[in-house]
């Protein structure tokens, strides 16, 4: 049995031969097409977190925080390792809340305090929601989650996926208990739960 020679393995490196090789014609054509279109904008399918990041940013326009929370940086906290962190970071890069800079902070689920305005609890940390809600009870922070049933368990706004669309479950009581006001426009877009 003949062993393949090294030259055969690297046969494709012999570039000049390629150009005249009949099999390569579709390639040349293809390269042309690629060059033609390389820098044109195009899109992939949207992943849910890009939209989620966008929506979370919109909350800042529909929620009213008490006066003592209206100075300094606007902080969005995230509990758990979530793709949303990167998504939010790139999304808020050149955005502000009023004149305030937006800062993204990640917190462990065991943190003693959560000094922030919006706190997002990723799906992985859903089980910690009750604990975090109790620990931050009365604090003016908007708890946002993304697992079925969490709006009933202490979250203020909960993301759910229904038929390939993101939906909001809003618990008005939980929001008001935290001295936050929610605009009726936002209330109308979500499903109210108690």
């Amino acid at each position: 049995m003949k062993t393949p020679k090294l030259s055969r393995i690297f046969s494709f490196i012999r570039l000049p031969q390629w150009i005249f090789f009949k099999r390569l014609r579709p390639l040349v054509l293809l390269f042309g097409l690629v060059l033609l279109n390389t820098f044109t904008a195009h899109a992939q399918q949207p992943a849910d977190y890009a939209i989620q990041a966008n929506i979370i940013y919109r909350f800042t326009k529909y929620i009213d925080w008490p006066e003592n929370k209206k100075t300094g940086d606007f902080i969005i906290g995230i509990v758990g390792d979530s793709p949303l962190t990167d998504e939010l970071k790139s999304f808020i890069a050149n955005k502000t809340v009023g004149n305030r800079k937006i800062v993204i902070k990640t917190f462990p689920s065991s943190a003693e305090a959560y000094p922030c305005h919006i706190l997002f609890i990723s799906e992985d940390e859903s089980s910690s929601l009750k604990k975090i809600a109790a620990r931050t009870s009365g604090n003016s922070l908007l708890l946002v989650s993304e697992s079925e049933g969490l709006a009933q368990k202490g979250s203020c706004i909960n993301f759910v996926i229904v038929a390939d669309h993101l939906k909001l479950e809003i618990n008005k009581n939980n929001i008001e208990e935290r001295n936050l006001n929610i605009a009726s426009e936002l209330l109308q877009l979500g499903k109210l739960v108690k």
Partner: protein, 717 residues
């Protein structure tokens, strides 16, 4: 379980577009949720895996066949550059000591968008004749275990369903992929299309692959060695085969194929959808395609075309497909035939609350005809007949969820009526899943599936040899079919567990126990006499016959998935053990004109248990993907099988304990692919295949599989 995380490559252009949308509009954007996709698979009642086009691209796979190495439970062995022997879980080389046609995979149903591409000549899949290539693939779904009640006959030990890609945004659609490398390997794919609006999109695609073998020699069974540029071969009987150049016109070539497709998707209204696809392909390959009695490789060629129409109107789904053309399993004359296969399918989906039910009807006819290519007096063609395998099925699938959706019961029944044998086989699938919690799921399946009969076994009438005995008396050895063979049937019990053990680790375990019976092989049977004018002819029939052997396979597959932000890893392994009860290594009946037939025949093994050594005890792989930088991606894949021994029919013929037996050494294949994305949608990549350089062959005396280097580009507009 596959989780596709592609968040790191978010599209800033699209994000900017979202910024202009109102909150209300944002909530109306249709999303593709990776977590949801994974969740669906997590809940699947059957053993299932999915690989996506992204998985395939990152692994640098050069073909659909090679990409199957990324799927748990697959045994994928390369026969010559780009041609593979593909089995699901095993049940390969069964019965042992049989011709290649019998031992290739005839029990896995391969489909493209639910259209079966099963070859009815002798059962199985001619992989190189799939008209689509990587560019057309959105994902590949693999279901392990008998699944005929849901997918139709021939899904005896599983289903491979290839789902094609569609344009997802309005305007121009362009996807191109080309790569080339060692052994003059060229893979070129291009698709172009246009999406007019949400209702209508059209894509045309073309693909071309050319590959050379890694060696020029051919192994000969009779002299048990390989010959480079042989001038002749000796066959089983020791007769000389001279037409080498006719059989092997291009000795260096392993694959030369091209195809074109057209896909039209039209959705005139919500819940009304029409998909039309059509195409044609031409291929010539040197692979183990049939028994030529001299050497494993044959030059197989195909020229086929297809059309597929799927319609969904409200709760009805209908599919009508046609596939036809001309094929030759070997370039030796008398191996060619025409075929045309038509499938029709109608399903109705009814659901109310926690209950859903789906009745269905299907009809298929597979006509094969080789009379045009043979002399019907000499009977020197492949099967010398026009045959038709007809299958009519009625099926019902019901699903019920209870205990607050934690317990799910799925039952599928199908009644399959065949023309050969003229009888009805019931197939069923009973599955249940129980969600202990959101993160842990237990499941169990009990199922049965038959394989339809094939043209060759039902219809063949072929003269193998004629030799004189005395004056006016001859012996004619001839292959004969039997249209009333019992159908190969498999029963399986399976139990499984899926869990999210930590937030980054997922596990999927399946334990299976499969029994299969009614294998067939050509058997030398009782002689009879024919009178032809003044001549008396003693006919020695070699007839397709059911064997008493019952196959029993037990095993388990474990798959793990690690999904980190930059690193994803997916190792998987299968352990299995197969035994055959009642198997005897003889291919003659008790009353056959063979020496000692009464003592040594297909029934001599009754009561015995033989272990089947042709399926590796351990096989599996891993894929690891690491996003080094946002634009630079590194992917490593591994594939492994433990040693195994293939028993070819020549083992029985030569019976010297050497010829016809090949032990395939354990092999670990490591591949790496690095891709660089200089601009959105453009990837330059370079892949090394078989980095360890272990050249050992992967199938019975076929080509060496050396290290290969490939480079290419992938472009998506």
């Amino acid at each position: 379980m596959t989780v596709t995380h592609c968040y790191s490559q978010q599209d800033s252009t699209k994000m900017a577009a979202y910024a202009d949308l109102s909150l209300k509009d944002l909530l109306n954007v249709k999303i593709v949720s990776a977590s949801k996709k994974a969740e669906l698979l997590f809940d699947a009642p059957l053993s299932a895996s999915v690989i996506t086009r992204e998985d395939i691209r990152r692994a640098g796979s050069t073909s659909i066949m090679e990409a199957l190495r990324l799927v748990p439970g697959m045994i994928v062995r390369e026969q010559s550059n780009g041609n593979y022997d593909i089995h699901l879980r095993g049940m390969d080389n069964v019965p042992p000591n049989a011709p290649f046609d019998i031992t290739s995979n005839t029990t896995t149903l391969v489909m493209i968008d639910n259209r079966p591409v099963y070859n009815y000549l002798r059962g199985g899949t001619f992989w190189e004749t799939l008209p689509i290539d990587l560019n057309d693939v959105e994902k590949i779904e693999v279901v392990r275990g008998p699944a005929a009640a849901l997918y139709g006959p021939n899904a005896v030990n599983g289903v491979i369903n290839i789902i094609t890609r569609q344009a997802t945004k309005d305007g121009l659609y362009l996807v191109a992929n080309m790569q080339q490398g060692s052994n003059l390997t060229y893979v070129n794919n291009i698709s172009a299309g246009y999406r007019f609006n949400k209702k209508l999109n059209i894509i045309a695609s073309g693909n071309y692959q050319a590959r050379d073998r890694t060696q020029l020699s051919y192994f000969e069974f009779n002299r048990n060695r390989a010959f480079e540029y042989p001038s002749y071969f000796l066959n089983f009987q020791g007769d000389t085969i001279h037409n080498i150049d006719q059989r092997y016109p291009d000795k260096a070539m392993s694959m030369d194929k091209y195809a074109g497709n057209l896909f039209v998707n039209y959705e005139p209204a919500e819940k009304t959808k029409f998909n039309i696809s059509m195409g044609a392909q031409r291929s010539t390959v040197q692979r183990v395609s049939t028994e030529n009695e001299a050497t494993p490789l044959s030059t197989a060629s195909s020229s086929t075309h297809y059309a597929d129409l799927r319609a969904t109107v409200k709760s009805f789904t209908a599919q009508l497909s046609y596939n036809g053309g001309t094929q030759a399993t070997d370039a030796d004359p008398g191996r060619k035939y025409d075929f045309s296969i038509t499938n029709a399918n109608l399903e109705y989906n009814f659901s109310k609350g926690n209950f859903s039910i789906k009745p269905g009807l299907s009809y298929s006819t597979a006509i094969y005809d080789d009379r045009k290519y043979s002399d019907l007096v000499l009977k020197n063609g492949l099967f010398n007949a026009r045959g038709n395998i007809i299958t009519k099925s009625a099926s019902i699938r019901a699903e019920y969820k209870l205990l607050n959706n934690r317990l799910r019961l799925v039952a599928g029944f199908a009644s399959n009526t065949f023309n050969h044998p003229d009888s009805t086989y019931i197939s069923y699938q009973l599955a249940t899943t129980y969600k202990i919690s959101k993160k842990h799921l237990l499941r169990a399946v009990y199922s049965r599936a038959p394989r339809s009969s094939n043209i060759f076994d039902s219809y063949v009438t072929k003269t193998v040899a004629i030799f004189p005995e005395s004056n006016n008396r001859y012996v004619r050895e001839g292959l004969e079919g039997d249209a009333n063979l019992k159908l190969l049937t498999a029963d399986m019990f399976e139990a499984g567990y899926r869990g999210n053990i930590t937030k980054k680790w997922d596990i999927d375990v399946e334990v299976f126990d499969i029994r299969a019976r009614n294998y067939t092989t050509p058997v030398l049977s009782r002689a009879y006499t024919e009178l032809n004018g003044a001549d008396t002819i003693d006919v020695w029939p070699i007839r397709a016959t059911n064997l008493p052997a019952i196959l029993h396979q037990r095993g388990f597959t474990v798959s793990l998935t690690w999904s980190g932000k930059k690193l994803q890893a997916k190792p998987f392994i299968t352990w299995q053990h197969t035994t055959a009860k009642n198997y005897a290594p003889y291919i003659n009946s008790a009353d056959a004109p063979a020496p000692y037939a009464a003592q040594a025949n297909i029934y001599s093994g009754m009561g015995s248990t033989t272990s089947i050594k042709s399926t590796p005890a351990l096989f599996g792989g891993a894929s690891v993907n690491y996003a080094l930088l946002p634009k630079l991606n590194l992917n490593m894949t591994a594939y492994y099988y433990s040693s195994q021994t293939y028993y070819h029919v020549s083992n029985i013929i030569f019976n010297d304990g050497v010829r016809g037996i090949d032990t395939i050494k354990a092999k670990l294949i490591l591949n790496a692919s690095v891709s660089y994305m200089p601009a959105k949608g453009l990837h330059f990549f370079c892949s090394g295949k078989n980095l360890l350089g272990n050249q050992s062959r992967e199938f019975f005396h076929t080509d060496a599989v050396p290290f290969m280097l490939l480079a290419g580009i992938n472009y998506e507009f």
